[in-house]
């Protein structure tokens, strides 16, 4: 099951929280560069792969993937551990070469535009004997980013107070933040993040999620690879699911949530009476647990159903369209 791909994609809706003023100052040079380079992206796609394949010996880790990531917004790359997500990201960053197939990142060969792409692949890599600030300063110097950006990004990711400590003494979460700051230091128009929440505690995960939402400011494209379904569900507009090296779905997140058959979910009391009423209306109904009923009817029958239930003296606490959870959709897609 592969979702339909379109040539033009909607950008993430505006109205996101803006970057902090300090971060905006640092980002200005990069923002101007992004606007200038935007035309270079092909057909509104930040990333496009064609039959992208990578083999290690006899093992095909990534198998003929045709991926298209639209410019702007947050794109989720879902898949279990070992599904080929990281290998795909490594090919997108130019760290490894594909065995076959084509890759275009911002209209160019991967790895040829360090100024326009930021990435954290697997765990962040830092020089342990250098401070967090010095690690960022070195990377900023390499990509020609203004040195003021370093302090501002340290502030943005909440590492300012530990900036002068050796990075080797950082916790996993602090390293993760430092890695994200490093990927942002030159304000890239494309950000590739492999499991950005790995090693973070729940509050850290929320902070990273909020940060990513702030960073997806309409012109920037963020690709987040994760096996955490809730993370992807909360921040992404579009997703691709990779399973055993193959792309088994790509499309809008909403497409995944939609069911093939329309269903309603109703929380009512008493459930037995409600079931009898709905049987009389000729709709399929079954208990979903926790006092919920799953009703086999389209959304436009909701008023009719509510009227019938109320007339039968059934208390209706909640009724609405039943969407698949991402977990359900994921399991369905990967086992079909």
């Amino acid at each position: 099951m592969v979702g339909s791909t379109r040539s033009a994609y909607p950008s993430r809706p505006s109205g996101k929280r803006p970057l902090t003023p300090a971060c905006m100052t640092a980002a200005r040079a990069g923002y101007d560069r992004r606007m200038t380079n935007e035309a270079a992206a092909t057909d509104g796609a930040a990333i496009r792969t064609s039959e992208l394949t990578r083999r290690f010996g006899d093992q095909t880790v990534v198998d003929s993937i045709d991926l298209e990531v639209p410019a702007g917004g947050i794109f989720g790359l879902l898949g279990p551990n070992g599904s080929g997500k990281s290998t795909t990201l490594r090919m997108l960053t130019g760290l490894i070469e594909p065995t076959s197939g084509d890759v275009e990142v911002l209209g160019s060969r991967p790895g040829t535009m360090p100024q326009r792409v930021g990435a954290v692949i697997e765990e962040p890599a830092v020089y342990p004997y250098l401070s967090g600030r010095r690690n960022l300063e070195l990377l900023a110097k390499l990509v020609g980013a203004p040195s003021e950006a370093v302090d501002e990004h340290l502030e943005t990711i909440g590492l300012a107070s530990a900036a002068d400590r050796p990075a080797g003494s950082y916790s996993t979460g602090m390293r993760q933040r430092l890695g994200i700051a490093a990927a942002l230091v030159h304000d890239p128009e494309l950000l590739l993040l492999d499991e950005p929440s790995a090693g973070l505690d729940p509050s850290g995960m929320v902070e990273i999620r909020e940060l990513l939402e702030r960073l997806a400011d309409g012109t920037r494209t963020i690709v987040v690879s994760s096996h955490l379904l809730t993370e992807i569900d909360q921040i992404c507009d579009r997703v691709a699911i990779i399973h055993r090296g193959q792309l088994v779905f790509q499309g809008e997140l909403d497409e995944l949530h939609q069911r093939d058959e329309e269903e309603l979910r109703a929380r009512v009391h008493p459930a037995e009476t409600a079931t009898d009423v709905l049987d009389d209306l000729g709709v399929d109904v079954h208990a979903a647990g926790d006092g919920e009923l799953v009703v086999g009817a389209a959304v436009d029958r909701t008023p009719e159903i509510v009227r019938a239930l109320v007339a039968a003296d059934v208390d209706v606490f909640e009724i609405g369209e039943r969407r698949r959870t991402l977990e359900e959709a994921y399991m369905e897609v990967t086992t079909s």
Partner: protein, 286 residues
């Protein structure tokens, strides 16, 4: 390229390994170059406090004449430690410089953020090879200080060697360290780690090359092979400064001075070119 050089320089000068190498070089220069020979060696020259000590009448011992321990023979004494001990030190530093980029996975950063893999590795090699001059200078300075102290104790001349000789000695020492650092750097890239390279490199320098040189006289093939190797050429370059220290570990006279210089330059260049080519073409899985 300028940014890459600045970044590599910044990383290396802040790295404790460079300064530990310099400190180790100074310690070796003092202990093995002066303190031990002074304490156990025979007093063949001079009439100071060492007269009459064990070994003075040709007994077995570490035979270094006192004149070798005086400031005038600084270059001769200092250079004798380079073909083996300091070459190994430079190899370790080179392996750490490139290998730890894989251990820490920061090699990714070089590839992702850098101006190109070739530029990044070339910058690393240039900075590394330039920086080992610190190790050479430290060893010479430590040697000079030690020889001065011995000269004052013994009441001998404190006249330094000619400046030109010191500069030539430093240049030779730097070239020997450069080949070690470049080989270590290449090994680190090829092995994608530093530990294995350090182990293999030390075994090669301290066992393989030394053993091979013991069989030079018995086979022309072995002799021809030995004359191409980095350790042999480093030993010959050091040997060109001294006759007294010919018995020092690694020092030899198998190869002429300029041939040794050419061979060491070739080894250094080859190591850097191979490391750069491999780094440029190979996938980065770190």
């Amino acid at each position: 390229m300028i940014a890459a050089l600045q970044v590599e320089f910044d990383k290396l000068v802040r790295r404790p390994a460079l300064w530990w190498s310099a400190a180790a070089a100074a310690a070796m220069a003092i202990v093995f170059g002066y303190v031990i020979p002074y304490l156990v060696g025979p007093a063949e020259v001079g009439t100071g406090s060492r007269a009459g000590r064990p070994g003075a009448d040709g007994e077995a011992g570490y035979s270094v004449p006192l004149e070798m321990l005086l400031p005038g023979q600084l270059v001769e004494n200092a250079i004798s430690g380079f073909p083996l001990f300091y070459l190994a030190l430079a190899l370790v530093l080179g392996a750490l410089t490139s290998g730890s980029e894989y251990t820490w996975r920061t090699v990714r950063n070089l590839a992702l953020w850098g101006p190109g893999r070739v530029t990044m590795l070339a910058a690393k090699a240039v900075v590394l090879i330039a920086s080992v001059v610190v190790v050479a200078v430290t060893a010479f300075v430590a040697g000079a200080a030690s020889s001065l102290v011995i000269a004052l104790i013994e009441g001998e001349s404190v006249s330094p060697p000619p400046a030109g000789e010191v500069l030539r000695g430093l240049a030779a020492a730097w070239l020997i360290l450069a080949v070690g650092a470049a080989l270590g750097l290449a090994g680190g890239v090829l092995a994608r780690s530093s530990g294995a390279v350090i182990g293999a490199g030390l075994v090669y320098l301290f066992v393989v090359e030394l053993l091979l040189r013991t069989f030079v006289s018995s086979s022309s093939v072995i002799e021809a092979t030995a004359k191409t190797l980095p350790g042999t050429n480093a030993g010959s370059l050091a040997g060109s400064f001294t006759e007294t220290a010919q018995g020092a570990p690694g020092v030899n006279d198998l190869v002429g001075t300029w041939q040794a210089v050419a061979a060491l330059v070739a080894w250094t260049a080859a190591a850097v070119v191979i490391a750069t080519a491999v780094f440029d073409r190979r996938d980065i899985h770190a």
